[in-house]
Amino acid sequence: MKKIIISMVAAITMCSAATADTIKIGVVGPFSGPFALQGKNFKAGIDAYIATHGAGKIGDNDIEIVYRDVPQADPAQSKALAQELVVKEGVQYLAGFYFTPDAMAVTPLLEQANVPLVVMNAATSAIITKSPLIIRTSFTTWQTSAPMAKVAKERGISKVITVVSDYGPGVDAENAFKTTFGAEGGTVVESIRMPLATNDFSPIMQRVKDSGAEAVFAFLPSGPTTLGFVKAYNENGLKQAGVQFLAPGDLTQESDLPALGDPAVGILTTFHYAVSHDSAENKAFVQAASKAIGNPAELSFPSVGAYDGMHVIYKMIEATGGTQDAQKAVDAVKGLAWESPRGPVQIDAQTRHITQNIYLREVAKHEDGTFYNKEIKTFEKQGDPGLAAVK
């Protein structure tokens, strides 16, 4: 890898004598701690983009990524690190941000620092309204949850119980589903919010059973607790009883699927990206990202947010020619449309959030015994319904 870069650098310097600047991009994410896997996916997405797009150079400019670790949601630390990235490292772009509060903390800096922020994951709708210099290339919980209500209605389900983790994104998912399902004419018979630190979900499943709902809509953060939740769903006989399991795709992220295994088969999720998505762009992306992450089984959705985030940053750098002008950079990518590994996407010119397809997927098993999210339906060009709810 290094050799390639060096030889390319040599080749380019031989061809043109133009002076090359190094443009730094500061990436803040959880690279250690309980969410290390998601941070690793950020890095894989970024590495994959760089590897497939000119090996760290845009024109005459070198690109350098500076990583900073915020293991768990910690806005104060996030802000201190972002400040340091701007004033000490001199980064021209801030990117990454897995958690909403971490992204929120940075927003007051942007204007003064003249730095755009590309949110590669944090999924609360309101973030984007905090500064005109923010662009989001991931998704919002509203965006991925709302279509599920339509799916439920289409499948003839009229009574649903929602079960979410009791924190921001969980509440978002609950509201998104309730609002949309209500508009579709369905009833949410009960809404349960459970503490994040729940280990045994049997009592919750008992509640689900007692509620008499035909389906359960669930949201939990990706990671260890989803495993217990899905198992409890099976072991308490809800699957047998025909209570359909609905969720946004966070619950069945690809890196958790091997652990979830057979009990997860048949779960319906709506999400913006499946590693199994069938397109030439995605094949190339998965190949590059798998190489970057080392173990392909660890690849998950934050990687694509990071990959597309890099695409936006590259476009911004091209538009500004490497000079630091945050507003110009952001204006340049408003309305930008491209073919992402997840499908066709566009940065909405008004909201600066990504408009994208949301897919209905079902957890299925390959013949070789591995599991994947099988896309069975597409909701095209979905914006963020959550923004309306914010205002």
Partner: protein, 287 residues
């Protein structure tokens, strides 16, 4: 009525899982007087070994459990020799610092070696499905965990109260220098009970993996729960730990059924009430 039974069964199963994992900590804290925050780290090591043995080596579940227990003990022996021996009898805060340090190291190494993804320990066929109890079905592995908990409780009680090793252990705990003067090799006794505690941690990590899945952050994520259990029960008391687990399991499960939104409040308020009234734990011995 059916619901009450159903909740009771869930509570029993959850409590027993907690018991199997926490009892080792009760031994280290009560008998060896070490605030061992790295207890979860040993449970996690056990879980990783079992997962590796079943998934990658294709060993049978039973063998994997044994392997996990013994391999974790073998890993723990040098740790005890080099690190724990320095903190026996040290102030609590020093012990906290050391064992948190060990936990951080184990987390970092596990993350490096096994990666950050969840690791499961595939169960054997007959533990996999649900078992019908008549009024409801329950996962077979939960019944298995209940059985393991009961077996561990009985075995430990026998070991400590009825064997000569138990006598030596209790003697060393009560008065180490007197015990040594009477010919008890306290170092050996300590090392052996440390090994037992670690073995129990590993066993608990494997048996409890269905509820508390194995991943690198396991070691810190559940540390608080283990500490709470030991403290409520009274450090070093096996019946106390059992009682605490059943009680806390019951409170937690009922709380989460009746009002899941306030589940956390329910649980910790109960802990505060219990600990305020029984500062030495439910069945802890007064010093």
């Amino acid at each position: 009525m059916q619901t009450v039974f159903s909740i009771a069964i869930d509570a029993l199963a959850y409590g027993m899982v907690l018991f199997v994992i926490s009892i080792g900590l009760s031994v280290t804290m009560g008998l060896m007087r070490v605030v061992n925050l790295a207890h979860g780290a040993f449970a996690m090591i056990g879980g990783y070994i079992a997962s590796y043995a079943v998934r990658d080596l294709g060993l049978a579940y039973g063998f994997a459990v044994l392997l996990a227990v013994f391999a974790t003990i073998i890993i723990a022996i040098p740790v005890e020799r080099l690190l724990y021996r320095r903190i026996y009898g040290a102030p609590e805060l020093t012990q906290v610092l050391m064992t948190i340090g060990i936990t951080f190291c184990v987390i970092g190494i596990a993350n490096y070696v096994f990666g950050p993804t969840l690791k499961t320990i595939p169960l054997p066929e007959h533990l996999r499905g649900p078992i019908d109890l008549g009024f409801r079905s329950i996962a077979a592995h939960k019944l298995f965990a209940i059985g393991c908990g009961a077996a561990v409780a009985l075995g430990l009680w026998y070991l400590i109260e009825r064997t000569s090793f138990g006598v030596k252990l209790r003697a060393s705990v009560d008065n180490a220098s007197m015990a040594a003067a009477l010919g008890v090799r306290t170092q050996v006794v300590y090392a052996a009970s440390f090994a037992i505690a670690v073995g129990l941690a590993a066993f608990g990590g494997v048996v409890g993996a269905e509820l508390l899945p194995i991943e690198p952050y396991y070691a810190l994520r559940y540390m608080v729960t283990f500490l709470v259990v030991v403290s409520v029960g009274g450090a070093g008391s096996i019946p106390g730990a059992l009682l605490a687990c059943l009680l806390l399991g019951g409170i937690d499960t009922t709380g989460r059924y009746l009002m899941p939104e306030y589940g956390e409040f329910f649980f910790y308020l109960a802990v505060i009430v219990i600990v305020s009234f029984f500062p030495r734990g439910l069945l802890g011995k007064a010093n």
